[in-house]
Symmetry: C2
Subunit: 349 residues, 2 copies
DNA sequence: GAAAAATTTGGGAACGTTCCCTTTTTTTGA
DNA sequence: TCAAAAAAAGGGAACGTTCCCAAATTTTTC
């Protein structure tokens, strides 16, 4: 039993073979197969198509791209394919770019600068038609020097001259805070990260402080927890919270930087008998798929992943068409996904 | 403010420019930049490298591929990038293929035959060096006619002559059953699907029946539920179970075809006061990330996604090197992830 | 020290398309 | 009917590499 059928080979059917069989020139065949059809008579069109059919010919887009300077490939560079947040964005990009004839290549950087620059290399060598990326390093010059239309995902204000699509973190944080406030919470703790992009921290923390100020609530620095935005960070958060002197007096709600942190913190706290939605309000951010499957289901601020992906793809499409058009920035609002981890404290007051 | 820096352009630095600056021929430059270094004197090597540096030259691998017939691109065709099961496999593939110099393109078929054939088209046009795929349609001939080394992910015995990597579903089902039996369960229900690949159903159902027979337990056809393996299916399953006449007498445990079904069924049943791990034992299959975050955490049979991805990549690597080597099939065992949804009924007996 | 051998270099074809320009054929119009 | 215009088809260069073979140069050998 062997790997490949020996008689499958011979797959070197090119435009020449088609031309010969159809009794026309390569140029004519090219006219038939290329999108921008030059004028071909109906008669020869049929002859050529029949020959293509008969030989099972497939156009080699790599070779075509050599001449046209188009690869019909787009790179999506994200931190982690296996993270639902990013893979759903990638999916949305793919969904909107493929109907336009582009293939989408996904590259995972795993938050590493080295991998990131490997992908930049690849982008320059493989000559993608465009790039959609979330960069850990805020190296804008690098991105601009790619020599390829690029769209950034994220909310870096540093990126002055590059198209950007992202969530409005300020607003997303604010609506979460607002919801807690409305439901009667006045002692709100925030857990966020100073790891990774510092923009994120400052945006969330800024929105947090602004909100407190707006409502005339006191700012207690001890309630601003700094943890990594992963499972470990969630456990750490639970520990830090419980370590706080008479914490139950000081905090009635916990706003977590993302869902992973919220979920693991919630599960960790349960071990000490503290039940989210009963003893303490918890709200997350992102709305990953797992959030609706926890018990109790997690209330969270949903980031519009799909809209982000679609918008990034459309922006890139426009940019590839017109490389010199004006730069655009799209910030989408987060929206509340109300489930069961936030207590309605209004009755009790 | 405009999209691209006007002076970035002019990015048409080719081997010719390098040759001219270094004062050598294109052939010599080619020798320097191609992997399989032909003999070049130390002196000229330096000259060329300096010229490359100076001009910021990047080799165009697309053009090179035209001549060498290598694209250094591999297609991974999976049903859904946004599903952790598949994205983790993709990640593993990427991790093992990239160090070998390959770029990995991920294609999501969303279980649609039409999309699948679109990817087959692409594979033929873009001339990937290899393909790793999970096919909904069991069209083996189509895959063999790709004219490209291919590795299948799954457990189709129909695929006689193609390298295959997958989970040993028979064994995975069996260890789950075994665990239920060990913990004192004698009335085991199975929920699986007849949607999608029929192999799966028959394998799981076969393992189920075999196990019952082996242990001398009666087979009750009413306990073999057929539902889709998604969230909807989980709710449907709960409904079907509760609709069963005095079900509490007839079933003490529920083996679900995958975790999504198990989790949603569990959450649905809770609404009727039936708590997994207390009133009913539930066991899933796959071990998706959410499974450890449910309450109570789900006991499940873990499929070795990472090993599958790595093995598929390595197999493909071997196949690309030696297209005519003997076909290999790797089936990896599932392993039990014991958490809290299975009751220990031994004490009670 | 010259022939032989080995090493290094260069010239051009080739990969499979597209594109520009020219030639041939068909259609149009008076 | 014949010139002019329009449409269709062909020929070859070009895209940026690699590869083969031949030429030039250096090194080895007797």
């Amino acid at each position: 039993m062997y790997g490949n059928d020996p008689n499958m080979s011979k797959q070197k059917i090119s435009i020449h073979e088609v031309a010969r069989l159809a009794g026309v020139s390569k140029s004519t065949v090219s006219r038939v197969i290329s999108d921008k059809g030059g004028s071909v008579s109906h008669e020869t069109l049929e002859k050529v198509q029949k020959a293509i059919e008969q030989l099972g010919y497939r156009k080699n887009i790599v070779a075509a791209g050599l001449r046209t300077q188009k690869t019909y490939m787009v790179l999506v560079m994200i931190p982690d394919v296996a993270n639902p947040f990013w893979s759903e964005i990638a999916r949305a990009v793919q969904d909107t770019l493929e109907p336009e004839g582009y293939s989408v290549v996904i590259g995972s950087t795993y938050w590493s600068e080295e991998r990131e620059s490997r992908y930049y290399e690849l982008a320059q060598m493989a000559r993608f038609d465009g790039v959609i990326l979330n960069s850990v390093t805020d190296n804008i010059d690098l991105i601009k020097n790619l020599g390829v239309p690029a769209v950034l995902i994220g909310e870096r204000s540093a990126a002055q001259n590059i198209d950007t699509v992202g969530t409005d973190t300020l607003q997303a944080t604010k609506i979460g805070m607002e919801y807690l406030y409305e439901t009667g919470h006045r002692k709100i703790a925030l857990a966020t990260s100073d790891h990774g992009s510092e923009r994120y921290l400052s945006l969330r923390a800024r929105a947090y402080k602004d909100f407190l100020h707006e409502k005339g609530l006191p700012f207690d620095p001890a309630l601003l927890f700094s943890v990594n935005l992963d499972a470990e960070g969630g456990r750490e958060l639970a520990k830090q919270l419980l370590g706080l002197q008479n914490w139950a007096e000081r905090v009635d709600s916990l706003f977590c930087g993302n869902d992973i942190v919220a979920i693991t913190a919630m599960n960790e706290l349960r071990k000490y008998g503290i039940i989210a939605g009963i003893d303490l309000s918890i709200i997350g951010m992102d709305d990953v798929p797992a959030s609706s499957q926890t018990y109790p289901p997690l209330t969270t601020v949903r980031k519009p992943r799909e809209r982000i992906g679609v918008a990034a793809a459309q922006l890139l499409l426009r940019r590839m068409q017109d490389p010199l058009g004006a730069v655009e920035k799209h910030l989408f609002p987060g929206e509340l996904a109300i489930r069961d981890t936030v207590i309605d404290r209004r009755k009790k007051r």
